[in-house]
Amino acid sequence: MKQSTTTYIAHLFSVSLLLFLAATSVAQDSTEAPVVRKVRPVKNTFGGVYFMDNQTTMVPIKGSMQMEIQHRFGVVTNGSKDLYGIFAPANIRLGMSYVPIKNLFIDAGIVKEKMQVDLDAKYAIMQETPGKYPVSISAFGNVVIDTRNKSNFLYAVNRFSYFSELMVARKVTETFSAQVCGSLAWMNNVEGYVDTEGKIQPKMKNYQFDVSLLGRYRISPKSSVIAGYEQPLTQHPTNNPHPNICFGFETITSSHTFQVFAGNYYSIIPQNNSFYNQNDYTKGQFLIGFNITRLWNF
C-alpha cells in the first residue's frame, strides 16, 4: 500500500513536471520577444527634391547625383490657338546636382529665360524622427547670374539675384505630408522710371518676402497628388506679383521623379517667380509644367 502511494505520488510529480515544462514552453512561444528597432528619421515625406515650383526638405543620400529637366509651357488662355500653351514659347531648365556630404545638396543649372545660371545649396538641418524631432527643417539658398549681353546691365553686379528659404515639413500620416516655407528673394537690379520731377524712382523694392504651403497625398506607393499655394507678402510701388496656385500629379520610381502640374509660375528660378509673376489665377492664367529628375548613387 505504502509502495503504491509512493508510486502514485511519483507519477503525479512526473505528470505535473511535464505539464509545467509544456506550459512554460508554450508560454515562451507565444510571448516571443518583440523586435526592438532603432529609431530612425521618417522616410518618404516627399518623393523628390522638387515640389513643382518649390523645393522640399528632402536631401538625397550622400553620393547621389541627379540630373534635372524642368519645363514650363505657355498659359492655357489662348486655347486651341497654341494648344493650351503647349506650343507657346516654353521655359526650360537643365541642372545637375550632387550630395557631397550627408545632408548637403548642391545644384547648378541653366535656364532659357534671361539665359540665367543658378547655383544652389540646400542643407537638411533636422529630420523628422519619432520621439525626437516632430518636423523636418531644411534651408535653401541660391545665387543666380543673368548671363545676357552686357548691354542689358549698367554694372556687372546687376546680373546677380539671390533667394533664401526655410522649409518646415511633416509627414502627418502615412499618406499625407505637408510643408510650410518662408522665403526672401533679393534682386540687385530692379527697373525704375523717371517721375514728373525728373527723378529716377524704383518700380519695385529690391526684396520680396513670400510664404507657401505645400501638400502631398499618396494615392499608391509610387503615385501622389500634389498641391501648393504661395503668397507674396511684400508690397511694391508698382507691379505687385500675383500668388501662385499649383496642383498636379507625381510618380516616383527607383531612380526617377516625374511631376506634371498646372500653376501660375512661368519662371523656374524662384526669385523671378516671387518678383515677377503676373499670371493671375483669378483670370485662369495657368500653365502646364513638368519636372523630371534622374538619380544615380555613387
Binding site: V35, S220, K222, T253
Partner: protein
C-alpha cells in the same frame, strides 16, 4: 525541304535564346546563408518593405514578384518567380545578399538603400509574396 531550311535555323535561334535567358546558379557566401534576420516577424518592417518594393523592384519583378514587371522583357536574365516554393525556400540571408550585392541585370542596392534594416524590411516583404 524548304520548310526545314527555314524551321531548323529558327528553332536553333529560339533554343539559343532560351538558354541565354536561363538563369545561372547564384552562389551565396556561407556567412550570408547563416545570417539571422533581426527584423523577422516585425509587421512595421513588412510595411516599410512594401514601400521599398513598390519603388525599387516592381519595374522588373512585377507587383507580385512573378518576374512580370514592365522592364522584365528587356532583361538578359529573366527574373525568378519569387512567389514559388523553391525560391521562398532560400534563407533570409540569401535574399539579403542578392539584394545588397546584385548581379548582371539585378542592380546592387547597397548604395541606393544604404541602411541594412531597410534591406531586411525588403526581405520580410518578399516573404509575403509566397503563394
Amino acid at each position: 525541304m524548304k520548310v526545314y531550311k527555314i524551321l531548323l535555323p529558327l528553332l536553333f535561334v529560339v533554343a539559343v535564346g532560351f538558354k541565354y535567358r536561363q538563369t545561372d546558379p547564384w552562389p551565396v557566401p556561407d556567412n550570408y546563408l547563416k545570417m539571422a534576420n533581426p527584423l523577422k516577424g516585425d509587421a512595421a518592417s513588412v510595411a516599410d518593405g512594401k514601400q521599398l518594393w513598390m519603388q525599387h523592384c516592381t519595374s522588373c519583378h512585377g507587383k507580385t514578384g512573378k518576374g512580370d514587371g514592365p522592364k522584365a522583357a528587356q532583361l538578359k536574365t529573366l527574373p525568378h518567380d519569387l512567389s514559388k516554393a523553391d525560391i521562398q525556400g532560400q534563407p533570409d540571408g540569401s535574399f539579403f545578399y542578392k539584394t545588397s550585392e546584385g548581379r548582371n541585370d539585378m542592380p546592387s542596392f547597397k548604395k541606393k538603400i544604404p541602411e541594412k534594416e531597410d534591406i531586411w524590411s525588403l526581405v520580410n516583404y518578399i516573404r509575403t509574396l509566397k503563394k
